[in-house]
Symmetry: C2
Subunit: 340 residues, 2 copies
DNA sequence: ACTGGCACTCGCTACAGTCGAGTGCCAGTA
DNA sequence: TACTGGCACTCGACTGTAGCGAGTGCCAGT
């Protein structure tokens, strides 16, 4: 594993050149474009070693070298220098996000911004209900046997659900139900609600018992079991940049994966540590995405994390730039949420 | 314009063959696959006429014929025979749509169903607010100077919006505001609300005046001006079927168009008459979509129309089948909405 | 440990030739 | 007049060959 500094510099140069030109890079071009201080022949020897170690490969015998997924990984972990955002980018972020009136609005603006800045596919998860607390529960009578249950979370999310009651419930009883439900649940984290909901049913006065039972079922279903995560997506047109070279010629598997909310959630939703996560090619657990890389991070007001966001692109992407942008956008969104 | 019956039959045969094989169709293959009762030479003469009239064309001199947009138009208008849904399809529709608990749920299921059945890109517009009536307006205090305005429409749509009040408003005043707003607006069509909102401000008691003024601004903005239309999309992966032959090799313009809600709304939202609309290639007003066709129709409970839905695919698509499916799905969705 | 030189590989492009599906036209026939 | 069979022609698709050149691996020399 003798990878001395120069070999690492060569790998870095290969990655940088390949990312920008999208063409296999040869030894001669390398020494011309970078100040390596050695001759092409020497670089070739280094390349041979790098290839043997699996960091680069040759598409065909007489072609230049291309980084492998492993090579990108090493690059991301040890070689990439942080790329600060340009002032223009900072300004773009601020301009784009001010004036958002709504959680929906914030999420939509964010996902478009992210797609535009990175020129890739952007994914933003709405604040997770599992990480939210109940701010208020509203019951709106639709008919004598139907209620609309509206839950407002502290993260700004609003979920609604129709409740089909077992029998007619007079308006006064609805008021009572509303009061009881709010007394018990307001302020509680959603993940803590199941026992509380259970208690609600047990403590309900007899005449409200049937309605409360139905209501509790819906509550549990909507708020906990079905784990209603939502996702916004933008920039799919960016997949077609770079012709058909990226993604080995077929967008199909990528587009299919992007249609599955479950997949997207796995991609950007699992950010336990608050650090940025980079998944490169193979490392991805979905076969459909083995030709793609994902950069994602968590966001939230202050230090807490309420959701994830990220971008998806070809393995040959500008990792330092993308990582910087994703982080910056996540931070801005967090600040925005903190204001509400 | 002498297009006798046989020439029309030839055109129909060309369209049908081309749609199913995706290859230019020649005179010999035509007489073999269809019972036209004449020789290839005769068919060739007919083809020459059809080409002169602009209904078909030759990709290159020594190739078979391909329908033009104009040819598809004639086919759709006069030649296509209605294709009844298979029992399997009917069952799929029913199975897919029962068990929807929510408007969101209904829309999502519908759009996926449509994409799956037609194997194309499906678009479903949420019931338009412009065509809805207010069922209930709820004001939920978030802090002393902030309210969450929640509007529930008779179509099942729920819109929320944060209201930043000019000063602190005590809970009792919020109750009053809620009562006043509902008394005035509940039951009104959204398009009729502007004068009512105006009246609300004028009739408000002095102490509620400032809050009501702010509230009315948000109300108008959210419910009328910003015309909050929503759209669901599915099946973009289907664009890659048929290799790169459809859409002349580049999905880019299509994907770009699909990202613009405004474009989608124009495509499927403008269904004044309750009939199915077919836009073929050129006929589309967006340059990005000149290689695509759109089949759309309105849906709604009973005879009224509250929104549009449709699919987008290559100009060489199975028009009769697609039209039948789109219609059937729209009808089922309408019935589903009528139940609520 | 690095370098210059050299033979070698192999994808890319251009070009020529063949094949065959499909056409347009025309003279012949019912 | 309307259709048909026959025939010459067109032109894209495919195949094979040849030359080019970027890039490599190796080796002897410093």
């Amino acid at each position: 594993m003798g990878l001395d500094d120069r070999k690492l510099a060569v790998l870095r140069a290969i990655v940088e050149d390949y990312v920008s030109t999208q063409e296999p890079v040869g030894s001669k071009a390398l020494v011309e474009r970078h100040q390596l201080g050695v001759s092409p022949a020497t670089v070739r020897n280094d390349m041979a070693v790098l290839e043997e170690e699996g960091y680069i490969r040759q598409p065909h015998t007489s072609a230049g070298r291309v980084p492998t997924d492993r090579g990108y990984r090493l690059f991301v972990d040890r070689l990439s220098r942080v790329k600060p955002l340009s002032p223009a980018e900072r300004r773009a972020i601020e301009r784009f996000l001010v004036g958002a009136v709504d959680l929906d609005d914030v999420v939509h603006r964010t996902v478009r911004l992210l797609a535009q800045l990175t020129r890739q596919v952007a994914v933003v998860q709405y604040p997770s209900l599992a990480r939210s607390s109940v701010r208020h529960l509203e019951l709106v009578p639709i008919s004598t046997t139907r209620l609309m249950l509206v839950m407002i979370a502290d993260t700004g999310r609003v979920e609604q659900r129709l409740v089909e009651l077992p029998g007619p419930v007079p308006p006064d009883d609805v008021t009572d139900l509303r009061r009881l439900v709010n007394e018990k649940l307001a302020g509680a984290r959603l993940s803590d609600t199941p026992p509380l909901v259970q208690a609600l049913v047990e403590e309900a006065p007899p005449e409200l018992r049937p309605a409360m039972t139905t209501l509790s079922t819906v509550l549990l279903e909507t708020l906990v079991e079905r784990h209603e995560e939502r996702i916004a997506l933008a920039g799919t047109a960016n997949l077609t940049r770079g012709g058909l070279l990226d993604f080995q010629g077929s967008l199909r598997p990528i587009l299919e994966a992007l249609e599955e909310e479950v997949v997207l959630l796995k991609l950007i939703g699992e950010t336990e540590p608050s650090t940025t996560r980079v998944l490169i090619g193979d490392e991805n657990e979905f076969d459909n995405l083995r030709a793609a890389s994902v950069v994602s991070t968590g966001y939230g007001p202050g230090a807490t994390i309420v959701g994830g966001l990220g971008v998806l692109g070809p393995t040959r992407m500008d990792y330092p730039g993308t990582i910087a942008t994703v982080r910056a956008v996540a931070r801005y969104v967090g600040e925005l949420l903190a204001q509400n």
